[in-house]
Amino acid sequence: MSKKPTAGPALHKVIMVGSGGVGKSALTLQFMYDEFVEDYEPTKADSYRKKVVLDGEEVQIDILDTAGQEDYAAIRDNYFRSGEGFLCVFSITDDESFQATQEFREQILRVKNDESIPFLLVGNKCDLNDKRKVPLNECQVRAQQWSVPYVETSAKTRENVDKVFFDLMREIRSRKTEDSKATSGRAKDRCKKRRLKCTLL
C-alpha cells in the first residue's frame, strides 16, 4: 500500500499502464520535462516526481511507468497495488493495444478491489489520425462501460498531455477527500469498504 506523505504537498501516485510501444513513456516524459528533456536522468530518485499546481493547490505527482517491463507480467499486481490512479494508455493506431486495455482494467480492478478507482482511458498518438485503427466511438463505448473518461492525446504534439494527468489527479484528490470524510480522517486502506462504511455510520 502506498504511504501517505506526512508533510509537504499531497502526493498523488499515478500508474501508467498499457502495452509496449503505445507511448506511455512518451506521455510521461512530455508531462515531466516538456522541452527540457536534456535534464532527464533516468536513475534519479525524483525523476518521475514533480510538483505541480492543481487548482491553486500545490501537489506532488509521482508517476510510475514500467515501460520496457511489459513482459514481466508477474510484477504487475504489486505495482498496481501501490497506485492511486491509473492512466490506461493505448495507441489509436494499434487495435491490439486497445484490446489489451481490457485485460489491464480487469487486473487493476482485481488488485485494487475498487470499481471506482481513479482511472482514465487514454488513446495516444491522435496526431496519427490518418492511421487510426481504433474507431473513436469504440473507445468511447468502452470508456462508458467502465464509467471512466476517455481522452485522446498526442505525446508528439503535446495535445491533452497535461489534461490527462491533471484530470486524473483531480479524481485522485476528490477520491481522497471523500475517503477521509467517510472514515473520519484516517484509515486510508478502508477505501474499499467505503460504501459499506457509510451505511454503518
Binding site: K3, S19, G20, G21, S25, A26, L29, Y33, V37, E38, Y40, P42, T43, K44, A45, D46, S47, Y48, R49, L64, D65, T66, A67, G68, Q69, E70, D71, Y72, A73, A74, I75, D77, N78, Y79, R81, S82, Q99, Q102, E103, R105, E106, Q107, L109, R110, V111, N113, D114, E115, P135, N137, E138, V141, R142, Q144, Q145, W146, K192, K193, L196
Partner: protein
C-alpha cells in the same frame, strides 16, 4: 537428494498405489463440496467395463500423468519408460475423465465461479443449457489436487528439495541465459516490439525465466489445500528467496517476491496469518528491496552496494534504456552524445554483471530437471493467471464485497455492450447477417444474465428466464447460404429448445412438439404436423442429474447414421464458443494440455478458431476478430465421447496424423450439433493425407 531421484523410479509403483486409492468407492468423494454426482463410481464402472486389469493399470498410470498435465504448465516430463508413454496416449481419454471428477469437485466449492463455469461468466452464455452438467472449463487445467497431492508427495513438490539447493540450481539456470544477452539487443530497445523474438531473443528468454519462476512459485503455493500447508510452502519459498538474496540473484529473488505479491497469493489472508512473524519480516525486508518508491531507489542503491557475482533484475535497466532512447532519440547520422553516454553506462554495468561467476555451485541434476520440467507458456500467461486466481478464490473465498465480484461485474458490464462494435467484423464469416440477430439478443440479455445463469443451473426444473430460448437460438447461429436452410435450422433450434421455452416462439408450430429421445435408444419421433423426423434432444427434458447422466452414457458415436440429420449447408455454418484441449499431437502427448476457449466457426470445410479477448465470456464479442488458427477438416473426424463425467465433450481426431483434440461445448445439444457438423463436412469431402493443420498462437 538421492531420495528425490530414487523416487521418480518408483513412479509406477506409486501409480499402482494410486490406482488403488482412486478406485475406492464413492463415499470418499461424496460430500467434498457437496457434489453427489461427482463420485468415483463412473470411473469404476468404466474400469469394470474395460474389465481387463492391465488396462486398469494403464488407466491409472495415465491418470497420474494426466494429473501432471493438469498442473497447467507445471507439467513434468514423464519419468517413466517410453513404453509407458505410448500406453498413456492410448488411455488418455479415460484418464482425463477421472481427472474431471476431481476438478468438478473442486469447482463446486468455488461456488458461482465454478458451477457456471462453462460460459456463465459472461452475459453471453447463450446456451447455458445444462451448464450444471457441463463440468467445467479451462480452470480445469489447474491441478486436480486429489491426484496431484498424491503425486506431490512423491516428485512434484518444491518442498521436497531443500531451499538452498533450489536457490543454487535456479541461479545456475538463470545465469547462462543472462550472460547471453548481447549489447546490441539492449541498445535496440526492441524487446517490447513485435519482432522481439528475432531482435532480442536472449532478453525475451531471460524475461521468460522470470515469469516462469514466478508462475511456479504461485502454483506450488496454490497446490496445497490447507492454509497451514500453503504457509509451509510459502515459508519454504521465503527460505529460497533468502538464499537467492545471499547469492545476489536479484532476478529470481524478485520473481519469487512478485509471486507472493501477486493477486492470487497476496489475498490469502489465512495463509499469511499462518506464517511466523520472523518469516513475514524476512519477506517484508526482501520485498522492500524491490519497492518502486522513488524510482526504485532501494533497488538501485542495493545493486550498487553489491559485488559480483550478481544477476540483476534486468527490468530496471530495460525501463531506463527505453527512457534514454526516448529522451535522446537517434534520428540517423551520428548518435547523440548524451544518448551514447547514458546507454553505454547501462550496457557497461550489465556487461559487468555478466562477468559473474557461479562456478562454485555444484549443479544438481535432478533438481535442475525438476525445475526445467515445469512448463510455462508465455502466451498463456493471462489464462494461467486467471486460473490461479480462480484457484485462489476457491481456496479462500472472498468476502461478499470481494475482488471477484468487482472484477466480474465490470467484465460483465463490458461484455454486454462490447459485443456491439465487435460484431460487424467477423471477417472470415460467410454469415455476417447474423450480426443483428446476436446484437439484439445481446442487449436483451443484459439485465437478467446473472440471474439467468443461476437459473441455468436449475433449469431442468424448467424455471427458465423468459428470453432464454431466444438466446439459445441466437447462439447456435447456424446461418447457411440459402433461405431454405435458414428456416430449416431455425426449426432445429426450436425443436431443441422448444420444450423448455414454448412460449417464446411466436408463429412457429414446431415448438410444441419437441420430444426427448435417447439417441440410439428410441426410434426417431415424427413431427405431428409435417411428419419430419425430429431432432434428438437428449438430456434437455431430463429432470435430474442422474437421468442426464444415463442419457449421456448412452450417447455414442455420432459418426454413423445420425450424421445425415444435418444438412451440409447447416453444418457449414456452425459457430459458437468451444473449449479445446490437445489430447495428442502427431502421435505425441503435448507437454501442456489445458482447456482453451475459442470461438469456433465452420467456414467452408475448415474450422476457424478465434482466440478469446478476455478470460471469460462465450459470446462472439468476447473473442478476437482475427482468427488465430484455421484447420481444414479433410482427414478429420469427430465423435461424441461417451463419457459420463466429462459432459458435452467430443473428440476431433485425424485419421492418419494421430492428432486428437478434445472439445467441450456448453450443452449436449451443441456437442451433437458440432460432432454432426464436423462429420458431415469431413465425410462429404475425400480425405487427403497430411492436411496443413495451422496451429499457432498469436
Amino acid at each position: 537428494m538421492m531420495r528425490y531421484s530414487e523416487i521418480s523410479r518408483d513412479l509406477s509403483m506409486d501409480n499402482l498405489r494410486y490406482s488403488e486409492i482412486s478406485r475406492k468407492p464413492t463415499g470418499e468423494y461424496v460430500g467434498y463440496g457437496g457434489q453427489t454426482f461427482v463420485t468415483a463410481s463412473p470411473t469404476q464402472t468404466r474400469c469394470q467395463a474395460k474389465a481387463a486389469s492391465p488396462q486398469l493399470l494403464r488407466q491409472s498410470k495415465q491418470r497420474s500423468s494426466n494429473g501432471n498435465a493438469h498442473t497447467m504448465a507445471c507439467l513434468r516430463q514423464d519419468k517413466g519408460p517410453k513404453e509407458l508413454q505410448a500406453e498413456q496416449t492410448q488411455a488418455q481419454q479415460p484418464a482425463s475423465k477421472t481427472l474431471n471428477i476431481k476438478s468438478t469437485r473442486r469447482k463446486n466449492s468455488i461456488g458461482c465461479l465454478t458451477s457456471f463455469s462453462s460460459s456463465p461468466d459472461s452475459p453471453g452464455c447463450y446456451y447455458s443449457i445444462a451448464t450444471t452438467a457441463a463440468p467445467a472449463n479451462k480452470s480445469q487445467s489447474l491441478p486436480a489436487h486429489g491426484s496431484i497431492k498424491q503425486l506431490d508427495a512423491v516428485i512434484l513438490s518444491a518442498l521436497r528439495v531443500p531451499a538452498d539447493v533450489l536457490a543454487n540450481q535456479i541461479t545456475l539456470l538463470d545465469f547462462p541465459v543472462f550472460a547471453l544477452i548481447q549489447p546490441d539487443e539492449l541498445s535496440s530497445c526492441a524487446w517490447t516490439k513485435k519482432d522481439k523474438h528475432v531482435v532480442t531473443p536472449n532478453i525475451v528468454a531471460f524475461t521468460k525465466r522470470f515469469n516462469h519462476t514466478s508462475f511456479w512459485t504461485v502454483q506450488e503455493i496454490l497446490n496445497a489445500e490447507q492454509p497451514k500447508q500453503r504457509a509451509e510452502i510459502m515459508t519454504h519459498f521465503i527460505k529460497v528467496a533468502k538464499k537467492l538474496h545471499e547469492l545476489n540473484n536479484l532476478h529470481s529473488l524478485f520473481a519469487i517476491i512478485s509471486a507472493m505479491q501477486s493477486a492470487s497469493i497476496y489475498r490469502l489472508k489465512k495463509t499469511w496469518a499462518c506464517l511466523s512473524k520472523k518469516d513475514r519480516q524476512s519477506f517484508e525486508r526482501l520485498s522492500d528491496i524491490f519497492s518502486d518508491q522513488n524510482n526504485w531507489a532501494n533497488l538501485r542503491s542495493y545493486l550498487e552496494s553489491l559485488r559480483l557475482p550478481c544477476i540483476p533484475y534486468l527490468g530496471l535497466f530495460l525501463t531506463d534504456l527505453i527512457y534514454i532512447d526516448l529522451a535522446h532519440p537517434h534520428k540517423g547520422g551520428l548518435e547523440p552524445e548524451q544518448r551514447r553516454n547514458k546507454m553505454n553506462n547501462i550496457l557497461r554495468v550489465i556487461s559487468n554483471y555478466q562477468q559473474s561467476n557461479y562456478q562454485h555451485i555444484q549443479p544438481h541434476e535432478s533438481t535442475q530437471k525438476y525445475l526445467t520440467s515445469i512448463r510455462y507458456i508465455e502466451e498463456l500467461q493471462n489464462i494461467f493467471e486467471e486460473d490461479q486466481y480462480k484457484r485462489s478464490l476457491s481456496l479462500e473465498p472472498a468476502s461478499p464485497s470481494g475482488p471477484s465480484s468487482s472484477s466480474c461485474s465490470s467484465k460483465e458490464s463490458f461484455n454486454v455492450e462490447s459485443v456491439t462494435p465487435a460484431l460487424g467484423c467477423l471477417n472470415l464469416s460467410p454469415a455476417k447477417t447474423i450480426g443483428s440477430m446476436r446484437m439484439a439478443s445481446g442487449t436483451k440479455f443484459v439485465p437478467g444474465h446473472r440471474k439467468c445463469r443461476s437459473l441455468g443451473t436449475k433449469f431442468r426444473s424448467s424455471s427458465l428466464p423468459r428470453n432464454f430460448a431466444q438466446r439459445c437460438q441466437c447462439c447456435i447461429v447456424m446461418i447457411a447460404p440459402g433461405i431454405g436452410t435458414i428456416s430449416n435450422k431455425r426449426c432445429r433450434c426450436r425443436r431443441i429448445f422448444g420444450k423448455i421455452a414454448p412460449n417464446n416462439y411466436d408463429g412457429h408450430p414446431h415448438h410444441l412438439h419437441l420430444e426427448h429421445d435417447l439417441i440410439g435408444n428410441v426410434l426417431p419421433r415424427h413431427h405431428l404436423l409435417d411428419d419430419s423426423v425430429l431432432e434428438h434432444s437428449d438430456a434437455l427434458s431430463n429432470a435430474d442429474l442422474t437421468s442426464l447422466e444415463s442419457a449421456e452414457g448412452i450417447l455414442c458415436d455420432f459418426t454413423g447414421s445420425n450424421c445425415d440429420l444435418m444438412s451440409p449447408e447447416a453444418a457449414a455454418a456452425m459457430q459458437g464458443c468451444l473449449r479445446r484441449k490437445t489430447v495428442q499431437k502427431e502421435g505425441r502427448k503435448p507437454a501442456v494440455a489445458s482447456w482453451q476457449r475459442y470461438w469456433v466457426q465452420m467456414w467452408a470445410n475448415s474450422l476457424v478458431y478465434f482466440p478469446p479477448k478476455s478470460f471469460k465470456g462465450s459470446e462472439r464479442g468476447d473473442f478476437k476478430r482475427e482468427p488465430c488458427k484455421v484447420c481444414p477438416l479433410e482427414g478429420w473426424n469427430a465423435h461424441v465421447i461417451d463419457n459420463t463425467k466429462h459432459k458435452n465433450s467430443f473428440e476431433l481426431y485425424h485419421r492418419t496424423l494421430g492428432t486428437v483434440y478434445k472439445f467441450r461445448a456448453d450443452s449436449p445439444q451443441m456437442t451433437h450439433l458440432w460432432t454432426n457438423a464436423i462429420c458431415k463436412l469431413a465425410t462429404t469431402r475425400v480425405p487427403k493425407p497430411l492436411p496443413a493443420n495451422l496451429m499457432s498462437f498469436e
